[in-house]
Symmetry: none
Subunit: 213 residues, 4 copies
DNA sequence: TATGAATGAGATTTCATTCAT
DNA sequence: TATGAATGAAATCTCATTCAT
């Protein structure tokens, strides 16, 4: 299921590969933020990473590999930071906490998020599949958490609605990343979290929490 | 504020310009959907439009002009189709109707939407500004409608929340366009509209509509 | 059998294609002679052909296409010039004449021959097949002519020997092209033709011509 | 005249140099056969030789050195194996024997021969001269042998014809190496030797051997 | 002596744009 | 107005060679 799309390197030292790829990713994100994947040249990527074009190509095979490396690293970071927060028992309080963590994470990494969502369509087919998979895993984390709330009797919604709510959350996160220019003048991240969470929970749990029949 | 980003043409006949540009837009959307703005070549755009590369350049100045033409035409279409629906008095029923219209519009034009949102970042600065403006006008249409509901006493929310709700709506539309692969297997467009509208209205208006104190 | 390996061009005007390709071939042969296929750059080829690198690529798709064009044109020239001379009735005199024509042809085009034989191994698989075919057709021309001499009773050798003799002739031609540096100081092309022809015919026809039993 | 084109090495131990260079030659021939000199990379050569790219460069200075090493080693092998056979008194029988040895040698090493003849043009000027020299020495071996036959009265041909005959022999050898695909289906190496030798001798010596006047 | 990571010049190819017809 | 051949800057990628370890 999680068969990694491998990026071949001609360098043998695994530690070095890891280190250099971190440099590549860091430089590339900075560049992609600024000019997007297509407008960034491999020479610029190499320079941003701190070495020569030749060295860059010791650690990747094609420019698209760089994009994949970036996307992969972002998802990994997101997943590792989220999985703790999302690994809660099924309480509304836990959900609230998880949502906050998620939005704050996106706030921290919003440049990376924008890059990933805007450029991942340029990945080669198999890498795109792998990344899409990761995206679905992220949705699944939320789905699972909400589902636990339902099972625990803290919410009463249909399976379909669980699905939608999970997608909704992910999309809200994208909104914070993508629409900063429009939103951030009016809201702090805390305001935003508060508002979105309330709105979501009020929508989802109203009959249980606020309006028991 | 609304100074149109002008696309220069060496052809004088305005009708011809209009006609040719429609051809360009139609061909370009098809192409951009398939391979994105950067991977589509001007030759291909010309071919898709039904004429030669030389002729293409009689009606545009740069490749980015094509992108601008596409984005502009989409916003115009959206605005013209929405302005009727959004030009309602401030009733919740009118809002419900407007939301339905908007989502159905996106469903019809989801290819164009995806193209626009994914590629508009590649516009040159002034064109990007113009398009961003258009986007904000669209948000403003919703804001205005919700605001009327508040003024009419059908909703009771703060100004800030009106803002947010309008953005929220636009983003939900993007979700339907972008996450088709994930959502459409579970929901029809009607289900989706119903669900989203309810959720939105329930969140926003619950105290007034469903839970009068 | 003679399914041409097609070289795609983005230019439509067939006459222009022909003309430009002649320029390409002429420039390329000069260059390949001097530095071989691999050491000649596409930029140099374009320059030698008299136009820009962009224009070169309007008439070919890959560098290997240039090599193919060169090989193809040489074989065509050879075949057209030979087929007359080789289309003789089966007399020893006719054979003598044909051999002379062939060697003189090679003397004229020895640069081209050297290029073709040295570089054709770098052709892509299908082009190589096509060229190998042409080579075999050339051998077949000689085979046919010798065969006619045998049928006409002017020579008495086995089928196998006909085969070998044809190859032998072709190889002798290569020798004149490749070993100029060693041979030309001692022999004129006329001397060479005389010597080779005698030697060949004496070997092949001795029992009939010089030593009737 | 025979000033060896020296290949510099940074390693001091002469035995080691010899051993490593044998490895290089063996690997390189295999590789060059497969993809030619230009398409083979130094990394691949090192790998085929069984060590690292760094080590390769301890024993050569440039990639062309490898080609030189290969050509040189082939000529040395040829010369050492031929010089016995060619070191005969001037009898037709001795010539016959020498020719057989030569063709059989080529049959054994035809891959190496093909590599050498196809790629030697890529040698740097001085190395090319050296190799051309070797080639001429090889021709001279035959020339000498034939000459001895003439002196011994076993053949009666002009000096010029001796020259040509020697070249002819070398070229016949090349024919066996290069045109395997066309010839080997009809002839075994023994058939070929027999045929070529007869033909050569019959042409050259007919008046003396078979048709004494 | 052996290794292999680093380098960067240079190769091929693409493609937006121009301009003569 | 319409055409499409010509252009060349610029992009991606390769690979011979070096050098610190």
């Amino acid at each position: 299921m999680d068969l990694k799309h491998e990026v071949k390197s001609s360098v043998k030292d695994e530690n070095l590969i890891e280190k250099r790829r971190e440099q590549i990713i860091e430089g590339a994100v900075k560049l992609f933020k600024e000019k997007g994947f297509h407008r960034a040249t491999t020479r610029e990527i190499a320079k941003a990473a701190g070495f020569s074009i030749g060295t860059l190509y010791e650690y990747i095979r094609t420019k698209e590999d760089v994009l994949y490396l970036v996307c992969d690293s972002i998802y990994n970071e997101v997943q590792s930071r989220l999985s703790n927060a999302l690994d809660q028992e099924g309480t509304v309080e836990g959900l609230r906490l998880a949502i906050g963590t998620y939005f704050r994470l996106i706030d921290d990494m919003s440049d990376e998020f924008v890059v990933m969502y805007q450029e991942s369509k340029s990945l080669p087919k198999d890498a795109l599949e792998y990344v899409t998979n990761k995206e679905m895993e992220m949705v699944a984390l939320f789905k699972n958490l909400i589902h636990k709330c339902v099972t625990a009797g803290e919410m009463r919604i249909t399976e379909d609605a669980v699905d939608m709510a999970a997608h909704h959350l992910v999309v809200q996160g994208q909104m914070w990343a993508f629409r900063r220019w429009a939103i951030r003048s009016s809201y702090s991240i805390d305001d935003f979290i508060c508002l979105q969470t309330d709105q979501l929970l009020n929508g989802l749990v109203k009959r249980i929490v606020s309006v028991p029949v």
